[in-house]
Symmetry: C2
Subunit: 319 residues, 2 copies
């Protein structure tokens, strides 16, 4: 049990994941309201928007208005997502407000890279070389390597640990070519293939290979195992997780239109706090915000915890 972290960093991605997939329309005001409310719960990392092509992702056509509109809270890092130079330019316009860092984003499954990006792995490496150079030329530090489909892929099946390691080696080679200092590795269960033994195996091997890197997990609850996977990750010493309030988001990939999205932030917080791992998050405040998110999207969100409520009131009443 000595591997267990004392505290975890939670990166809240509800606004970005949720509003890109909701059939919408969701008003700019509601997006701002959610981002501001999330920042009041003790979360220190909030992914506020995605600077993507509005024809592809109409839900984020108002990304600039959202970022311009929200009141930033001291001590909170607001991040954004982008996939190309145009997106980066749009993000850089908010350099004073957004925490802008670059990522080398790869996929352990060539099948997924082809289907999702219409590129081979080699072409994607080339694209990431260019993007890394672009980031660095704009003074944007590139600190992270992300590996999508690190635990399995709808198009390619199970993914071996060797594929994950080899993908990371490609990422580190790109970083080295461009003088970027990688500080953390993010492993994404993009399509909900992970189960605890796979988490243990992949995290264990990655940690052995790069013992100085921080490891983060981006878990999806596609098949209901996300919280068990987080439990396995915590036991392996993982101290950074991406998640979404209420389980906002979904799964846009092959044959899974009705599937759940990311692990719910509040269930992750409850898991950690009950394990004695500090999150800094006020769980009851977060539950209220996730309920607000449910009102904004206008349908029931997958989180069980926001429908039952936390243990705090019961504990207080019983004390």
């Amino acid at each position: 049990m000595t591997d267990m972290p004392k505290s975890v960093d939670i990166h809240e991605e509800g606004p970005r994941e949720g509003f890109q997939i909701e059939p919408g329309p969701i008003s700019t005001e509601d997006k701002i309201r959610l981002i501001e409310a999330l920042a009041e719960t003790g979360l220190h990392h909030i992914q506020a928007c995605s600077f993507v092509n509005p024809r592809v992702v109409p839900g984020w056509a108002d990304a600039a208005e959202v970022v311009a509109g929200f009141r930033a809270r001291e001590g909170v890092d607001y991040t954004a997502l982008w996939f190309n130079g145009n997106g980066l330019e749009r993000a850089l316009a908010f350099r004073d407000k957004l925490h802008i860092t670059g990522s080398i984003s790869l996929t352990a499954s060539e099948g997924f890279t082809r289907k999702n990006l219409n590129r081979s792995h080699a072409e994607n490496l080339e694209a990431m070389r260019k993007q890394t150079a672009l980031h660095i030329s704009h003074g944007v530090p590139v600190e992270r390597i992300g590996v999508m489909a690190a635990f399995g892929c709808n198009y390619q099946g199970d993914i071996t640990t060797e594929q994950v390691i080899s993908t990371l080696e490609d990422g580190f080679a790109i970083a080295a070519e461009h003088g970027a200092t990688i500080e953390r590795i993010s492993l994404a269960d993009t399509m909900g293939w992970a189960a605890p033994p796979r988490i243990e195996r992949v995290v264990g091997e990655v940690r052995s290979r790069w013992p100085d890197q921080k490891i983060g997990l981006h878990l999806h609850d596609t098949r209901g195992l996300a919280v068990a996977n987080a439990h396995a990750g915590l036991r392996m010493g993982v101290a950074q997780f991406d998640s979404t309030a209420g389980g906002l988001g979904g799964c846009p990939f092959a044959g899974q239109k009705g599937a759940a999205g990311n692990i719910c932030t509040e269930e992750l917080v409850m898991l950690c706090e009950e394990m004695g791992i500090h999150t800094g998050v006020d769980l009851d405040a977060l539950i209220e915000v996730a309920r607000m998110a449910e009102g904004i999207v206008g349908h029931v969100l997958p989180s069980e915890l926001i429908h039952a409520g936390s243990l705090a009131n019961f504990r207080r009443a019983a004390a």
Copy 2:
């Protein structure tokens, strides 16, 4: 990892838990259809009904018709639930078809016993003495002690391991008085208070105290942690779980009317199988049956897995 079981026994309680809580009405034919379909998936234990007062639980007014009506499959134990002599008599009428064993059912929380049964713990012990005598006088073996609210209680707050141990000691004393040989202990997270460290602590202490007893877990997903709790239980050597297909059921207790029910059978099966633990269940067949259950109750069930589908088709396509 040596504690991990090679196989687990899953007790499917979907029909009983589900149909007692659905606002209904659900036809006798649909109940029979679900029970028969569940038996085709490889499940070996199915709780088919509850012989309770129809004025209190109108959803099970047709318990006798359901049991009379379903076609029993060889090798499957069909069980029922009852709380008094009248219920036992109704069950005994189907002695040829039902697997009838008795249970000493206690609660680690006196607050819950008072609210749920309108009895003190001492009064409940007295009632269980009478019920044990009644079972034995009918030739019904009493093999199990069940402890409800073993991990926490909406009316009493956190439950200590000592309270669970002391409740079990009361149960073993009743068994000894009546010459009953207890073979297994079932620990129920009746109101969704458990988290992995608590599962580890309680299961560990119970196992140390009664090393020869089989330990089962009855988990509710009230706050989204059921699968993580099952993971913790499996790591502790727990080899019997109660669960419900699709997550049928709910939580009738204090302030949680909208809360989720039991751990989903199919998510439990996926967890076990991905951990290399044999369940004997055909996951894809079970997913189809859980989808049928969703059709029968007429609303979305909490299971994520039945909405995403298993990995099997993707694995086959990728092979």
